[in-house]
């Protein structure tokens, strides 16, 4: 069974015209899914719709076979979803460690193990644990943001352009960490502008164009699909 199942989704901001038109998406547990496509195609919108931040006109979103379109954000976190927005994704006035604690807000058990775990994933955070997150660099912020999301022990991690604004070096580090997180059993669904690199680590790729599914296939298949490569991945390879 798929962990996340989006069927015929039509959604938009408020009561304005919908941005997503009949979008389908399905991802099995333990996989990495990548949503790619040109700007304005509704990639981030799809992620936000899954996380209940949008007005859903029709269609359904199922997590573990259960419809989640009527749940509030905190209920979604309890369901095992976690979301890292693209911008403003850390609490700037809180310390790194407090940011992580906030990620574990819904948990009632001890969280110190999980904090140590996050520090293992992202070693640079350990020495900055007492520092305010607002004082960190872009790459470190991204680590805090991902760490915060992992603190709720999610089964499905949604990442909105985790490498935006990062240097190529940092980008590779972040991708490496995403793979590590995935190998620990977390299903990852991410929007990525660096489509080629992202598809290389993806099990499943979804290419959206103007709010509709354009191509859906495995990462490798998409990379090797001439038409996709020509239209969306650029001639350079």
């Amino acid at each position: 069974m798929n962990l996340i199942d989006v069927t015929q989704l039509v959604a938009g901001y408020g009561n304005n015209a919908p941005i997503l038109h009949d979008v389908d998406l399905a991802l099995a547990a333990g996989k990495i899914g990548v949503i790619a496509g040109p700007n304005g195609a509704g990639k981030s919108t799809l992620l936000k719709a899954i996380f209940g931040l949008l007005n859903i006109h029709s269609g359904d979103i199922k997590h573990n076979g259960k419809s989640i379109i009527h749940l509030r954000a905190d209920q979604l976190v309890a369901e095992g979803l976690a979301f890292v927005p693209q911008e403003f994704n850390v609490f700037e006035s809180l310390s790194v460690e407090e940011n992580l604690e906030m990620g574990a807000f819904i948990r009632t058990d001890s969280i110190s193990d999980s904090i140590d775990h996050v520090y293992e994933y992202f070693p640079p955070l350990k020495e900055k644990r007492k520092q305010a997150a607002g004082e960190l660099s872009g790459g470190q912020r991204q680590m805090v943001a991902m760490g915060r999301a992992l603190m709720s022990r999610p089964t499905l991690l949604l990442l909105d352009e985790p490498t935006a604004g990062l240097s190529p070096l940092f980008m590779e580090k972040i991708f490496e960490r995403i793979i590590a997180v995935n190998q620990a059993g977390v299903t990852v669904l991410m929007v990525e502008q660096h489509a080629r690199q992202a598809l290389e680590i993806a099990d499943q790729g979804f290419i959206l164009v103007t709010g509709k599914n354009a191509y859906t296939d495995t990462g490798d298949a998409l990379l090797n699909n001439d038409e996709v490569a020509r239209s969306f991945l650029g001639g350079v390879s």
Binding site: A73, F83, F91, S93, E98, F105, I106, A149
Partner: protein
């Protein structure tokens, strides 16, 4: 020497007392500003309400104080705090929450809080009347007069029991707030919501619970400030309106959304008030002989006549808005 004792009594003790009251009020205002993002105009009336709860309990059980050797009004303080906290949560549920759900703009929320303040005012005066009342109707208000071990000091330092209780309570309240905000899960969540409400939501923080806790803290601190102030002076139903401006000034001076700033702001406003209405002629009198002949020493030489005390917080507010709109500590909202 006597002049300094006079100064100490009039400026330091009174300023610290009123400053503590402002600080406790301003913490509530600043928390609500930070988390719910509107200026809560009904805060003054929550103070009055708290004081009336305590007064009502004092009238019902006038002997309670003797058991502990403290003023009865002070014994009733925790109960008044709980009651006011409940009222605050109730007010939020009935009046503010539906508006938030309708996504009304912050100014609409401010106006709703003015509606609430009028309703509270109406009810308080309907049941409580409009005359001033005193907590110490059945017992004696202890006033301590401390003599200083100096020969030249014939005056005594005067401090009342309610003032001492006020200082002690404020200190405890500040420590408690510090502890809550930095050590408890919900306190940290409050800071997180104040920092970035959207991220707090997607992190799974239950905004509703945080809101409730914010109102409980704000409500109980407001009640405490109201009770302790009316213990020291008297309980007047129009207490609230005169407190509102200094409290907002304190919150803005300290930097909106910044609890420690609110404390500092409270004392800044409190001392500014007592300093500006202090009669500085007292300090000149000893030098009467050495002053030039043409200078006639006025009997009163205050920066601001007492009846214009209300201008002081306003003046501070205006200066801050011009000079540094984010307040002393860098506040959140401009």
């Amino acid at each position: 020497m006597n002049e300094f004792i006079f100064f100490f009594n009039k400026v330091i003790v009174s300023g610290a007392a009123i400053g503590s009251v402002y600080a406790m009020g301003a913490i509530g205002v600043t928390l609500i500003f930070g988390i719910l993002r509107f200026a809560h105009f009904a805060h003054g009336d929550m103070m009055t309400l708290g004081a009336f709860f305590a007064f009502g309990l004092t009238v019902m059980f006038p002997q309670a104080g003797q058991l502990f050797g403290l003023p009865t009004g002070f014994i009733m303080l925790p109960f008044a705090m709980v009651l006011t906290a409940l009222v605050a949560v109730l007010l939020d549920r009935t009046f503010y929450e539906p508006l938030r759900r309708n996504k009304i703009n912050p100014v609409g929320m401010v106006m709703a809080s003015i509606g609430v303040t009028l309703m509270l005012q109406g009810l308080i005066r309907l049941f409580g009347g409009i005359e001033a009342r005193h907590f110490f109707f059945a017992e004696r208000k202890d006033i301590f007069r401390l003599a200083l071990p100096f020969e030249s000091a014939s005056r005594k330092i005067v401090i009342t029991e309610p003032q001492i209780l006020l200082f002690v309570f404020t200190l405890l309240a500040v420590l408690a707030i510090h502890f809550i905000l930095n050590r408890t899960k919900f306190g940290k969540a409050m800071r997180a919501v104040s920092d970035n409400v959207d991220l707090a939501r997607v992190s799974g923080i239950n905004i509703q619970k945080v809101t409730v806790i914010t109102w409980m803290i704000a409500g109980s601190l407001a009640a405490a400030a109201g009770v302790l102030l009316s213990l020291d002076v008297s309980l007047k139903p129009d207490l609230s309106f005169n407190l509102l401006l200094p409290i907002f000034a304190a919150a803005i001076v300290g930097g909106v959304g910044h609890p420690y700033g609110a404390i500092v702001g409270g004392y800044v406003v409190g001392f500014a008030e007592t300093l500006s209405i202090f009669n500085w002629a007292v300090f000149l009198r000893p030098f009467r002989e050495s002053l030039p002949d043409w200078y006639e020493l006025p009997s009163k030489l205050a920066l601001v006549p007492t009846e214009y005390k209300i201008t002081v917080p306003f003046f501070i507010l205006v200066v801050i808005l011009i000079w540094r709109p984010t307040g002393i500590f860098k506040g959140k909202v401009i």
